[in-house]
């Protein structure tokens, strides 16, 4: 983290920098749920697999908490994005049984 600067990208899906996250924390978004929804990291196709932990580390550092004190947001299914056509076919296949 020592080489982090304003250009360091934390969320690659949504193109969000470390500086944007730090600015939001200083505006008062000091819990992960609010921070995520205000800045909007962790909402891209990777489902936050990279950025949530990086953002949590920044939040811990900026607020003087340990990583363990920071609650990470709920993980939503599916784990990886799946085409809607797959689910539509799944239903038809069930109906034919």
């Amino acid at each position: 983290m020592s080489s982090e600067d304003e250009k360091t990208i934390v969320c690659r899906c949504e193109d969000i920098s470390a500086q944007e996250i730090i600015d939001a924390i200083h505006k008062g978004y000091t819990d992960m749920e609010s921070l995520k929804r205000y800045v909007k990291f962790g909402l891209g196709p990777c489902q936050g697999k990279t950025c949530i932990l990086l953002a949590a580390q920044i939040l811990a550092r900026e607020t003087g908490q340990s990583l363990g004190q920071i609650m990470t947001p709920t993980t939503r299914p599916p784990v990886d994005p799946v085409p809607l056509g797959f689910f539509a076919k799944g239903k038809e296949a069930d109906d034919e049984k």
């Binding site: 929804r37 299914p77 085409p83 809607l84 689910f87 539509a88 239903k91």
Partner: protein, 378 residues
């Protein structure tokens, strides 16, 4: 947080925050909003982000018509981009009976200033080029309906309310309410007690238990409604599409967001299910086949707080002066937020709202004066 306020609002969703902001705007600034988790964590942050005036009851058509005029300028007013877009709502009807009913609804909506209209398949295709025109007979269209981004709306209202001097407390749960006389309440919270002259119950799915603390029995049922978001795409969809219980739109961020009904009435959890995905995918790809190749990214769920007549409970409780209700939206709380905020603030600050909302009062249940709304989607 102070130990006394003129008004305490329970619930930090769009309703509570809009009421707080509108009170502040009227110079009524000794106000606290109490939120048990984080702002927008209840039904607001879980909603489908649609805004429509195409209802079937005069009360709701008028309310949402006025709401849409607030929505259209809300980003400017709050000095924060809430991403309102008048994308329009396009209902798809697939039987002659439904088309005929829609014609009657359109005439009724038109008579209340909501200029919806019936359109043929060709015009529907022009509005939404991705539509499969074999999947419906006619459309019902209103171009002033639209969408806004729920969390940005919450942020916009919260920041504007704070600028006006309103206190907003998160992670603050109310566990007991007492009243010792007219306009005299003690609110017991996990952060300490507050004395106040007015209490507004805008607690969404928790509104029933909040009201019960003062012996008021709100006749609500919680229904689980599931929803999903796809990966972000270039803008292609256009309007909000609705067919039966199915609805979806494309947000300003490019994700297709929407849901359908899975019949989970009287729900006790908001877990996501696989059955929802198969039903949604089948229905969604029937009207827009190209969605089959689009990846579903995330699913979640929330509660519709259903009142017996699918209209919210708004305004004071006659027997408890100073106890106001703003809940029971039956799936329409986000879209109603701005107008409810304005009308409840007028009620509390001036004693009289600029639109008559007496039909929405809690007393309608005791008097058997229920309203009727058929257009509940999702």
């Amino acid at each position: 947080m102070k130990s006394s306020y003129d008004c305490v609002i329970i619930g930090g969703g769009v309703s509570g925050l809009a009421i707080a902001y509108e009170l502040g705007k009227r110079g009524y600034r000794d106000v606290a909003v109490l939120e048990e988790a984080y702002l927008g964590s209840g039904s607001t942050g879980r909603c489908g982000s649609g805004i429509r005036a195409q209802f079937t009851s005069a009360d709701q058509i008028v309310l949402l018509r006025e709401a849409e005029s607030i929505w259209a300028q809300l980003s400017e007013e709050l000095e924060y981009d809430i991403h309102f877009k008048a994308c329009g709502y396009l209902f798809l009807w697939d039987t002659p009976e439904l088309v005929e009913k829609a014609r009657q609804n359109v005439a009724f909506q038109n008579s209340h200033g909501v200029m919806s209209r019936i359109i043929d398949r060709q015009e529907a295709k022009e509005i939404c080029p991705s539509l499969n025109t074999d999947s419906f007979l006619a459309g019902q269209w209103y171009d002033k309906d639209g969408m806004a981004f729920p969390f940005d709306t919450v942020t916009g209202y919260a920041q504007a309310a704070r600028r006006l001097g309103v206190d907003i407390m998160t992670s603050t749960r109310v566990f007991q309410l007492e009243t010792t006389g007219t306009h005299t309440f003690t609110v017991h919270t996990t952060q300490g007690n507050i004395e106040t002259k007015n209490v507004v119950n805008a607690a969404g799915p928790e509104a029933k238990s909040i009201a019960a603390m003062l012996g008021v029995e709100l006749p609500y049922r919680l229904d689980k409604h599931q929803i999903m978001a796809t990966e972000p795409l270039e803008q292609f969809l256009g309007p909000m599409l609705v067919k039966d219980a199915l609805y979806y739109l494309q947000t300003h961020r490019g994700n297709v967001v929407g849901g359908t009904d899975t019949g989970d009435k009287n729900a006790t959890n908001i877990d996501s299910t696989f059955d929802f995905l198969t039903k949604f995918a089948r229905e969604a790809t029937e009207i827009v086949p190209r969605l089959a190749g689009v990846k579903l990214m995330r699913q979640w769920a929330g509660y519709y707080v259903m009142s017996p007549d699918a209209h919210p409970v708004l305004g004071p409780i006659d027997e408890i002066p100073g106890f106001f209700q703003a809940s029971g939206y039956s799936g329409h709380g986000f879209m109603m937020g701005p107008i409810v905020g304005r009308l409840l603030a007028e009620y509390i600050a001036d004693g009289k709202p600029s639109i008559d909302i007496e039909h929405y009062n809690f007393r309608r249940f005791a008097r058997g004066e229920l309203l009727t709304e058929k257009a509940v989607i999702g």
